[in-house]
């Protein structure tokens, strides 16, 4: 599937960007990130306008709130405008780097890929648990050598947990429990829910919550295409449900967040985070969840990397078969195709 442009994408965790030059490719665009002395994140093309030297490459460096190219010394301000060139006083008017709208929110750095005039920060979907009182979060990012839509497929159908993630988060009940899928067509959001009333407790949850015995396990997915995926996970002893007034103090809540950011057409930044509302200060629980979730993500990475090799090297035209478990994934693919189609030159012209 082609890139969906004119959208916000997670480019990094805020903690990754400081006073060192940082580069990440998003939707095929190499972007340079750095923090000004006042602490604001800025983003611009990671290529000097002179001879295309990557500005993230040493000996390029920051001087105050300017970037100095390590090849010939072209110097750029935080807005990407060139302020100095070597050996002459006149700076060519065209000497400016493309700059990107950025927004730091919920521990993420979001970048707008598309026409800058269309960037509206209020449309960025939220993942507040990563930076919220009452929750503790662990997080990471794994490089995926596969196209992003394979990760979307993977995350929209959690029945694969039973087979790919047994011994961590998968139990027989996940694959065996029917799902409910809803699509909010106007807002472009896909919801997939699986509520298990009497399920085995996988180690991921038994060791973190301390629950022994069987559980009520709810998985409520919200996918805000193209980038943000939320899994609201509720774990409680069998028979324990929220109170009629909505309070739910006897349950354990885990918010699993993924940001699915295409790097190239066949590689993806797989950002993952796990936030919990229990054992908030327990370092052992944090370490366990971080280690376990990373293992689970790497199981997906191994599988999807292999799948990408198959897709890339075998003839097209394979006739896929979809069954009930794919209802949400099919909806996500359709919405993504619609979003991508809205950005073709023809569609843009029609909109004008």
């Amino acid at each position: 599937m082609e890139f969906v442009r004119n959208q916000w994408y997670v480019a990094a965790y805020g903690s990754e960007i400081g006073r060192d030059l940082f580069s990440r490719t998003v939707c095929g665009e190499s972007i340079l990130f750095w923090r000004t002395e006042a602490g604001a994140v800025v983003a611009m093309t990671d290529r000097c306008v002179h001879r295309r030297f990557p500005l993230s490459q040493p000996p390029s460096h920051l001087v105050g709130d300017t970037v100095v190219c390590g090849y010939h010394g072209f110097t750029y301000g935080a807005d990407g405008v060139c302020v100095a060139v070597p050996g002459q006083t006149r700076v060519p008017r065209a000497a400016r780097l493309g700059s990107y709208p950025v927004k730091e929110q919920d521990s993420f750095v979001w970048v707008w890929i598309g026409e800058p005039a269309g960037a509206d920060e209020s449309t960025i979907p939220r993942a507040p648990w990563l930076d919220l009182d009452g929750y503790t979060a662990v997080y990471g990012m794994e490089p995926l050598a596969a196209r992003y839509d394979l990760l979307v497929d993977n995350l929209l159908d959690l029945s694969h947990e039973t087979y790919l993630h047994g011994g961590y988060i998968g139990t027989p009940e996940v694959a065996n429990t029917p799902i409910t899928t809803e699509v909010d067509e106007e807002r472009g959001i896909i919801y997939v829910s699986r509520h298990m009333d009497d399920a085995e407790c996988p180690p991921f949850y038994s060791r973190s919550t301390g629950i022994e015995g069987r559980i009520v396990r709810w998985q409520d997915i919200e996918y805000h295409p193209p980038c943000l995926y939320l899994l609201h996970s509720r774990i409680a002893p069998v028979g324990v449900y929220p109170e009629p007034d909505g309070t739910d103090e006897r349950a354990f809540h885990v918010e699993v967040v993924y940001a699915i950011t295409p790097e190239t057409e066949t590689s993806t930044h797989d950002f993952w985070a796990v936030a919990r509302d229990f054992a908030l200060d327990d370092r052992e629980v944090s370490d366990f969840l971080e280690r376990s979730n990373r293992t689970v993500v790497l199981q997906d990475v191994t599988a999807l990397n292999r799948l990408e090799q198959v897709i890339a090297t075998e003839p097209e035209g394979f006739r896929e078969l979809s069954i009930n478990i794919d209802t949400g994934g099919l909806a996500a693919r359709r919405i993504l195709r619609r979003m991508a189609a809205a950005n073709t030159p023809q569609a843009q012209a029609a909109a004008r």
């Binding site: 409910t180 699509v183 409520d220 449900y241 097209e316 035209g317 006739r319 009930n324 209802t327 909806a331």
Partner: protein
């Protein structure tokens, strides 16, 4: 018993429920019309085609043969 998973309401909400104890899917259009099918591709096709019938005489539903779309076609 577990409360029913999310139930959104309003124009533009499509819902597909996998009926417990069966292999059957039931689709709900936001207009209130429902349809059952055993194939999610077929049911999505029906749901998305269905609003064209809103406000008019509802044409009898004719199942759409499963398309078995290839990955290449899905990548459009």
């Amino acid at each position: 018993m577990t409360p029913e998973p999310t139930r959104l309401t309003g124009t533009g909400i499509y819902r597909i429920v996998w009926l417990p104890g069966s292999d059957l899917l039931r689709g709900y259009c936001w207009c209130g019309t429902t349809q059952e099918a055993e194939d999610p591709v077929e049911l999505w096709d029906w749901l998305l085609r269905h609003p064209e019938q809103h406000g008019g005489d509802a044409a009898p539903y004719r199942p759409v043969p499963p398309t078995g779309r290839s990955r290449a076609e899905m990548r459009v």
